[in-house]
Amino acid sequence: MDLATIVQILESTLRLATPLLFTCLAGLFSERAGIFDIGLEGKLLVAAFFSAAFAFYTGSAWLGLLAGIAASVVFALIHGFASITFRGNQLISGVAINFLAAGMTVVVAQSLFHQGGRTPPLSGNARFERIDLPFADALRDVPVIGPLYSNVLSGNSVLVYLGLLAVPLTWWVLYRTRFGLRLRAVGENPAAVDTAGVSVVRMRYYAVIIAGVLCGIGGAYLSTSLAAGFVKDMSAGRGYIALAALIFAKWRPWQALVAVLLFGMLEAIANRWPNLDLGLITLPNQFMAALPYILTVVILAGFVGKAIPPRAGGEPYVKER
């Protein structure tokens, strides 16, 4: 394998990992606060659609991003409404969210654009531009480092950098701020937070809203950066892969980055070599597609270190029985 191939795989990895990263961090906030979120997929999808639709109408990717975030937050609030306010089953609510998004995007897209659940292709400012990092051109010819910096790191959509920044930011918020302390506490023992004079409901709503915002950015990236427009079901299971990455990362931000890069790379490899010839065996495309899920099951089975979710995860907080 030559350097050019490696560079291309890494470039592709970074692009494909970005929507996973946002979604995974979204799940991290939500689940750390004790709200299980299998509705990541749905939020990602609905954000992808609304950002594409608004970017198309306004001609601005940034306005599209805002619309995507707004749509995703609305879905997050529905989840919060069901699982926090009405103490419903968080898993069922998540399932419903996913279906709602799958149906809603197509129905609305069809009614707005009459293109079979698509948005028209986006061009110009309706998509996020690629940003060249400083010195990208100057460094291009430096061996090894050059291509890695100039091709892999530089020249990506602004949202890719935002995603990379979100990781340390998440870490900082979670472990270095009052808000993070309370957020983690509410996912471990909400009664402790409640008796400490902090509203559990409010903290949990903050968490699902943050999850909504992050999914919103991920969805916008999908349709206005990675692709140029929305097509039906374009999230294509990425929300579930992000969930898998979250478990893989054991609900921690830096590990989440590693996990999504790993899963992004699997996708990049599967794109490059549909049938990966390893000499002894040839791995079909389908195997590569299933690998993130298989790895997650292995992690869940506890054969490779135990993944312990936040202790109050999935449980509605009920004071009076």
Partner: protein, 510 residues
């Protein structure tokens, strides 16, 4: 501080009825009452954890709206709950500052808190390692964290809900020293307990609750334990149970060197030897959490252990590779679990189904190889409900629609009417009203008189004293000694329960 006309209902349960109470500043005020009297509910209302249906709170004479815990904290109230409210995988420091960080960033808050904690530790003998993770601490230390949390928030009124239930006597004494120290600093303390000894020892005033109502408030100096006991239960306590002397027969169950390590790796039983004979009640006394619950669960096949156990001469498999709760029932061991809500009953099942629960695979309940004979079960249930005077006598009601005492009767009916050779009973009268208590005690004696062996675990010393034919005291997973109920008294048992043999304290209780 004053509470006026507080009422609170949980669905159909009226936990507090029109409660009035005044607590004077700088005193230790005790609140006593039986299980379920509504003590915790009242205090949770004061702390804003629950919201009262009616009534008002006055602090320093000013009406204060306590809408949530934050309001209570602001009003200077701190509370140590019966079940600690700690984030177990956080450090002590993080638990202490949670909700009172004093700034958006954690590092400066932690530094500030660390300084304050050292100071509090010195002032009140409350030393805890601020960087220890809470789940690694023992209960006594966890409780200190709770107290520190309240003090850190500058609480002037400190509520402690049954703080000694999980403590060894030495730890309890340490706690009382702390409380007296706090009082000297001018803090007001409300101490909830149902242990009369503690009330007499530390409180200045005491209020008595019964069935959701406040029945009296008296000066501790002006009262005595028996008066308080009478107030608590609402009539002269007849703790004597009518019974004839036991006629112990063969050894039914025999246990040697029983050891248990629980799922978290904690040693619960450290080498128990005991025998229970036919026709006797062996009572096990001890402070909650000293291994009694595990003893019953191991014998009942719910929890694995090591050592040997023989039942009617046959070896039982303590590792539970072959045995389980079902095979123990087949070996004629019945078990009244101490937690009837979690284990003893399926609350959503109807009474008749609960009567078969655990014995549902018995041949008399089967119609043929495939189907159960629901009619037979229903018939059987009707009989048991009648004989045990379960009210209302309707087998079609779900278990949760019965009151605690009647639920307990359903469990007892199911287990006792099997005529087991050995009956394991945990806390048979917890949360049960007086009438039902007498009924249950009578049934247990009857079973004994039929020549069955009974192993009784209870935290109520009176119950142990009045029912048992022999008493074993457990402390820290070990047997501290055996006593004859006729020749011992609460004082002596209390010492044993505290790990004191003769005059020396065993173990590292303090």
């Amino acid at each position: 501080m004053e509470l006026r006309g507080i009422s609170k209902a949980f669905g159909p349960v009226q936990a507090n009825k029109d409660i009035n109470i005044r607590v004077r500043k700088g005193t230790i005020h005790g609140i006593i009452g039986e299980n379920g009297a509504g003590k915790s509910t009242l205090m949770s209302i004061l702390y804003g954890f629950y919201r009262s249906d009616s009534g008002e709170v006055l602090i320093d004479g000013k009406p204060t709206q306590i809408t949530d815990s934050l309001a209570a904290i602001r009003a200077g109230i701190g509370m140590v709950f019966q079940h600690f409210k700690l984030v177990e995988n956080f450090t002590v420091l993080e638990n202490v500052i949670l909700g009172a960080e004093g700034g958006a960033l954690l590092q400066p808050s932690k530094a500030r808190a660390r300084k304050l904690l050292t100071q509090l530790a010195d002032d009140y003998e409350l030393s805890v390692d601020p960087d220890a993770v809470v789940e690694d601490l023992n209960v006594g230390h966890q409780q200190r964290v709770e107290i520190l949390k309240a003090l850190y928030r500058q609480a002037n009124i400190l509520i402690l809900d049954e703080p000694t239930g999980v403590l060894t006597p030495a730890e309890a004494d340490h706690l009382f020293r702390i409380l007296r120290g706090l009082k000297e600093q001018g803090k007001t303390i409300i101490l909830i307990t149902h242990k009369l000894r503690e009330i007499m020892e530390v409180t200045d005033e005491v209020s008595v609750m019964r069935r959701g109502e406040m029945v009296a408030t008296v000066n501790t100096a002006d009262t005595n334990p028996s008066e308080l006991a009478e107030l608590m239960v609402g009539r002269k306590v007849l703790l004597d149970v009518q019974k004839t002397p036991a006629q112990p027969g063969e050894v039914v169950v025999s246990v040697r060197n029983l050891q248990v390590i629980d799922r978290h790796g904690v040693e619960r039983l450290r080498g128990i030897d005991l025998d229970v004979r036919a026709g006797e009640i062996l009572g096990i006394a001890g402070v909650a959490g000293n291994g009694q619950s595990q003893l019953l669960e191991v014998l009942a096949g719910m929890m694995p252990g090591t050592g040997t156990m023989t039942m009617n001469g046959a070896d039982m498999d303590l590792s539970l590779r072959r045995d389980n709760a079902r095979t123990r029932r087949e070996d004629s061991i019945a078990h009244v679990h101490e937690d009837r809500h979690r284990c003893g009953l399926i609350l959503d099942f109807m009474a008749w189904e609960n009567v078969a629960f655990g014995y549902h695979d018995r041949p008399e309940y089967q119609k043929n190889a495939l189907l159960m004979d629901n009619a037979a079960i229903l018939e059987d249930a009707k009989g048991k409900i009648e004989r045990f005077d379960v009210r209302p006598p309707n087998p079609m009601l779900t278990a949760e629609s019965f009151s605690g005492g009647n639920q307990q009767k359903i469990v007892l009916a199911r287990e006792i009417e099997r005529n087991p050779d050995l009956l394991l009973v945990g806390q048979p009268t917890r949360g049960v009203d007086i009438g039902a208590i007498e009924f249950i005690h009578k049934r247990l004696i009857e079973l004994r008189d039929q020549g069955k062996a009974i192993l009784l675990v209870s935290v109520e010393l009176d119950e142990i004293l009045s029912l048992s034919d022999r008493i074993i005291v457990m402390f820290d997973g070990k047997i501290m000694g055996e006593r004859d109920p006729e020749q011992t008294n609460a004082q002596e048992l209390g010492l044993l329960m505290a790990g004191v043999v003769g005059d020396s304290v065993t173990g590292d209780a303090a």
